[in-house]
Symmetry: C2
Subunit: 407 residues, 2 copies
């Protein structure tokens, strides 16, 4: 069994890094607070005597290899340690620190696995500062060139490449250098299913599709008091119509469809000036590719309708687009066996969130283990998973790893 | 007749002060750029040999008084030189500089008016940084205490009092020290009426009511991918519904009702996080007080409905509330006579925008002269009035002043 106090201690320690004056936790990718989190992680990887490698996109790997197994493809565990704004402490960090914990536990037990075992912390999984999300694992898996990724422009106008240089995490290894035999990611569910069902372990078999777009609507700035309603080209009102549409379309669709407008800005953003420009993001998700595409198509039609009726122009930039993924059936079954072996209830499920495993599935057999999120709350400081569930998940990971590392 | 080149030269010179790297003109009240604009104005007032007085709220007065008339109540002209974000060059500045121009013209003509004549540049007419708008003239007229006004907190968290100190325009004169015999303000229309009618001079008889509110809706931040639509408390979607309602309500009302949401912010404002908080402004205007109040009441009811149906909380802060104003019939008639005397077409009209004259009407007979705005565009860098109209308006002001200063 894993060393509970060590895992939970590190999780809480990492959760203190990157708090602002109001005690809000924010470690956006390649920011100063991300650097502080990375420094802590690298310290623990070195203490555990792992080989630490940083690649050009800033992914951090801690590798346990022996003379005997160095020629074999490693088993890779991992997740991410970047966060959203005003985040919880579990999202991502749990999987990285549990991966490290499992390696240390196996080594302390004197095991000599057939394959090396490594743990990765992938860069910019959240996608809040730079799009797309899951960027580090996407680059690792060859789905995006490292040059394009490094040139990505953030919400603050910075480029990821310059920021990685600045924080000292622009490594030299070529992304993809580590070609895993298999990839396993342990993560909090971030949704309400496991808690509702009273089940501690989810064996994640599928992950829904994700569509991210940035929409810019342009009208005409004019005086709020003197401009008759009929003479307005109000980009803000046009945006409001789209936000309402996107939400109502998802409500009307089948239950799993979701839609979110999380970011918005008006220009000039003055109380008595009709907005000349409204910029907002649209996040659509669906486990069904055809339904996701239909949602995108309906949005495109509605944007044209609003543009015509409100006299505004519309431009759309695609920030991320990933189809639904099916994970490796063998590893999913192994997760179920491991849970059963520990006497833990489990269920097969889908993931509502995007994860690095979704990208790693492009290059190796991959699957995920979920543990419950209280109240289904995530991307919120109240994100919480009971300690018993955190420990149970890490022990299931331990058993899955012990099996896969010898396969 | 006024000295055209001097007036237009100063107008264009002032319009160059406060431009950013992208050539956008922004002189928000009590900012560094406002200071630069104020310094230029004070320079011109001193060159014209006027007594310059700055009061505690930062209003600037240039006073022409003689030994003979110093005991009489002065005739006051004026407007403001603060601007919105990305502004045009005419809004406000035209009235201040034309007031100065009229004084210089009368003095150069050797006139010895029965009353002193003064020109004022009132602080924070726009209300973009600090609310309410027309703040300096409101304080001058006794409608708001100077202490309350100086404590006003800006969109950037500063207080007006500290910012006025910082830019060196926290004067010592007590607001209201100058009790005018009458007040006349020349301004661009900022709306489409005069151009549409082909009339160069508007005699402004009324000014519509203004209601400004800031609305905060609070929901729950949660993950955009994992949170079913039915479990969301999405403050951004709730805000979008209100923005759409406010606009559609004004469209359905009688023609002159207008409604604008000019400012918005989501928190945490991240692409994959359901907004926990949406903050936005509502600007409602109506020439009819009962209809304005009905619009506010309908908004309040709709806010409660949305709060209940979306599971969000709502709080509303009143930023400004001014009832419609009727200007002095005698001065309005004088404006019409002056236009007729110069062979200029004129029409009696209402003002869609708020103006300092609206506040000054509380303490003295007041009225306004309007000149056309091309395309009805204002609060936009494309705001424009042809030179002939600018000159005509200033000459009408000259004739009105010549008459009132001897009354
Ligand atoms: N797990 C997680 O929160 N990933 C961030 C990417 C997303 O799903 O929005
Ligand atoms: N004239 C003018 O633009 N005033 C600003 C106050 C307002 O009407 O919004």
């Amino acid at each position: 069994a894993i060393h509970e106090a060590r895992l939970l201690g590190r999780l809480h320690a990492l959760g203190q890094i990157g708090r602002d004056g109001e005690n809000r936790l924010t470690r956006l990718a390649a920011s100063d607070t991300d650097r502080a989190g990375r420094d802590a992680l690298v310290g623990w990887l070195r203490e555990a005597d792992l080989d630490v490698v940083v690649d050009r996109i800033g992914n951090i790997f801690g590798i346990w290899r022996t003379h005997a197994n160095a020629a074999e493809a490693p088993l890779l565990l991992g997740s991410h340690i970047d966060t959203v704004i005003d985040a919880g402490i579990y999202d991502g960090c749990y999987g990285v620190l549990a991966g490290l914990e499992v390696i240390e536990t196996l080594r302390a037990a004197g095991l000599t696995p057939v394959r090396p075992i490594a743990v990765a912390a992938f860069t910019n999984e959240e996608g809040v500062r730079y799009a797309p999300d899951m960027m580090g694992s996407l680059v690792h898996a060859g789905g995006l060139s490292v040059e394009e990724a490094l040139a990505s422009i953030g919400t603050d106008g910075t480029t990821l490449g310059a920021e990685l240089e600045r924080i000292g995490y622009a490594g030299v290894a070529e992304p993809g250098f580590l070609r895993p035999h298999a990839y396993v990611e342990l993560h909090i569910e971030q949704g309400p299913v496991l808690e509702r069902e009273g089940v501690p372990i989810g064996a994640v078999a599928t992950l829904q599709g994700i569509s991210w777009q940035r929409v810019v609507m342009e009208g005409t700035a004019n005086h709020a008091g003197t401009t008759p309603m009929s003479m307005r080209r109000d980009a803000g009102y046009a945006a409001a119509r789209v936000i309402a549409f996107v939400n109502e379309q998802a409500r009307k669709a089948h239950d799993p469809s979701v839609a979110t407008v999380g970011c918005i800005a008006f220009e000039p953003n003055a109380i008595n000036v009709i907005p000349a420009r409204a910029t907002f993001t649209v996040d659509l998700r669906d486990p069904d590719e055809a339904r996701l595409a239909a949602g995108e198509a309906a949005l495109a039609i509605f944007l044209d309708e609003v543009a015509a009726s409100e006299g505004v122009s519309v431009s759309v930039e695609r920030l991320a687009r990933f189809s639904p993924v099916a994970f490796d059936a063998g590893i999913v079954a192994l997760i179920e066996q491991a849970a059963a072996g520990r006497g833990l209830a489990y269920q097969r499920m889908t993931s509502g969130a995007g994860h690095d495993a979704q990208m790693m599935a492009r290059m190796a057999p991959a699957a995920m283990i979920f543990v419950p999120s209280l109240g289904g709350i995530s991307h919120n400081p109240r994100e919480h998973t009971p300690q018993a569930d955190l420990v149970a998940g890490a022990n299931v990971l331990l058993d899955v790893v012990a099996c896969l590392a010898d396969a």
